[in-house]
């Protein structure tokens, strides 16, 4: 039970820190917007091919944005030297990870929600009817990205060249999320939309595997 109350306290701390400045959310949203616009310059957005590439581009933008977003996740604690007090404050260090990854998932989902309308307009895709299934894919994909990202940002925060290192470690690790969520989103946005339940289940499996690994090994990431 202590895990949940600790997590709740830490989560409210994460959210309060972010919503005071809203730095992460604004920068990442603008970043995704820039990437989406740049993609449409790189391809010809009016064509049918561009529509086919669009889901992949969306997920690529989310992936790149996440690798920016998670930089500060543990770095903030490192810079302010608050990590040791955090570790002392909670009985189970997994609570620190759980709070951070829930916060990261929420931030990611929020930026995605902000960006989806632009995405729909730019690539001329109507999202309303597909929204429930699409939200599920976005949720499971974002949880996967956040779990792996939180773990990796705990590693990269303790290394040199951390700004470069985080995407280097994180992006190859997220290959399965990119492959599956881009495909599932693609078939959702098709002219005859199909919900690929197998893909959605696979994303769930990814989340569970990495969450379990983080639960088992999380305590070692934060050792002095």
């Amino acid at each position: 039970m202590a895990l949940f109350s600790n997590t709740a306290t830490l989560l409210s701390k994460e959210l309060r820190t972010e919503f005071r400045s809203r730095e992460l959310l604004t920068t990442t949203s603008v970043f995704i917007l820039i990437v989406l616009v740049l993609f449409s310059f790189a391809t010809n957005p009016g064509t049918e091919e561009a529509r086919q590439f669009a889901p992949g581009l969306l997920w690529l933008a989310i992936l790149f944005a996440s690798s920016l977003m998670f930089q500060s996740c543990f770095l903030r604690e490192q810079v302010n030297d608050t990590l040791s007090s955090l570790r002392l404050a909670v009985s189970d260090p997994f609570a620190i990870f759980l709070a951070k990854l829930i916060a990261n998932t929420l931030f990611l989902l929020l930026t995605e929600a902000l960006m989806l309308p632009f995405f729909a307009i730019f690539y001329n895709i109507s999202l309303w009817s597909k929204l429930p299934a699409l939200s599920l894919v976005l949720l499971l994909g974002s949880v996967g990205i956040a779990v792996a990202g939180t773990a990796i940002s705990a590693i990269s925060a303790q290394a040199r060249m951390r700004e470069l290192l985080l995407p280097l470690l994180l992006l190859p690790l997220l290959t399965p999320v990119l492959v599956v969520s881009a495909t599932v989103t693609g078939s959702l946005l098709d002219r005859d939309p199909v919900v690929q339940w197998k893909g959605i289940a696979f994303l769930g499996v990814f989340d569970v595997v990495f969450l379990t690994a983080l639960w088992i090994f999380g305590q070692y990431f934060l050792e002095e």
């Binding site: 590693i155 290394a159 290959t175 399965p176 197998k198 696979f202 090994f217």
Partner: protein
């Protein structure tokens, strides 16, 4: 020392024997012709490389659990040897693919997941260069190694199920697949040889890592005095 030299001599002799078997004992494949002979070397190196990465994963787990330096040395050793193997696989693969498929590269499950595997372990070695403190470097790279290894089957199946139109695996691929008996013998001989050769490399690299550690210690002692 003598044991290591002996192992080196045996491994080299076996590699030469395997090359002889590949070129002169195995029959020429009917449709692909001579180029197919690269398969023995290519697939055997892939198997050996994957085995070495598995040892790396076990070493990483053992380091996190026991915190003994020898497991860290074994981890970095296996990562480097495995990476060398996978690099060879990624080079021999396209050499084989070009005449047979007409292209150097196709984005299918095994190729792509091998490439992602390669990227993951390059990142692993890069991470090691970016953390100075030895204890922290050992622990964090071991943790990343564990996550990377867990990722590999997910990468493989995600690409296999959603991205691939691939010829069925030849070995353990189910009905209709399989090798000529002589080819099979030559192939498994190659697999054995590659494992022995990797063992030789691992032993040598491990000793080097240990020496490096000893030199570090001596240097530090000298600085203190």
């Amino acid at each position: 020392m003598t044991k290591r030299i002996l192992l080196g001599v045996v491994a080299t002799a076996l590699i030469i024997a395997a090359a002889y078997a590949n070129f002169y004992i195995a029959p020429t494949e009917r449709t692909m012709g001579v180029i197919q002979r690269i398969f023995y070397f290519h697939a055997a190196t892939a198997w050996a490389g994957e085995m070495v990465f598995f040892v790396c994963f076990v070493a990483n787990l053992l380091y996190v659990w026991k915190r003994e330096q020898k497991y860290d040395w074994l981890g970095v050793t296996c990562a480097e040897v495995g990476l060398a193997c996978i690099t060879i696989v990624l080079i021999t693969g396209p050499i084989w693919a070009k005449p047979v498929w007409g292209i150097y590269w196709t984005w299918d499950a095994r190729l792509t997941s091998t490439f992602v595997l390669w990227l993951l372990y390059v990142s692993y070695l890069l991470l090691r260069t970016l953390i100075e403190e030895p204890g922290r470097r050992a622990l964090l790279s071991a943790l990343f190694g564990i996550f990377a290894f867990l990722d590999v089957p997910l990468v493989f199946f995600s690409i296999r199920w959603w991205r691939t139109q691939h010829p069925a695996p030849v070995i353990m691929g189910g009905q209709g697949s399989g090798l000529d008996p002589t080819m099979k013998k030559v192939f498994f001989f190659n697999v054995l040889v590659m494992h022995i050769f990797c063992l030789f490399l691992i032993v040598e690299r491990y000793v080097l890592e240990k020496l490096r550690h000893d030199v570090d210690l001596l240097q530090r002692e000298a600085e203190v005095q």
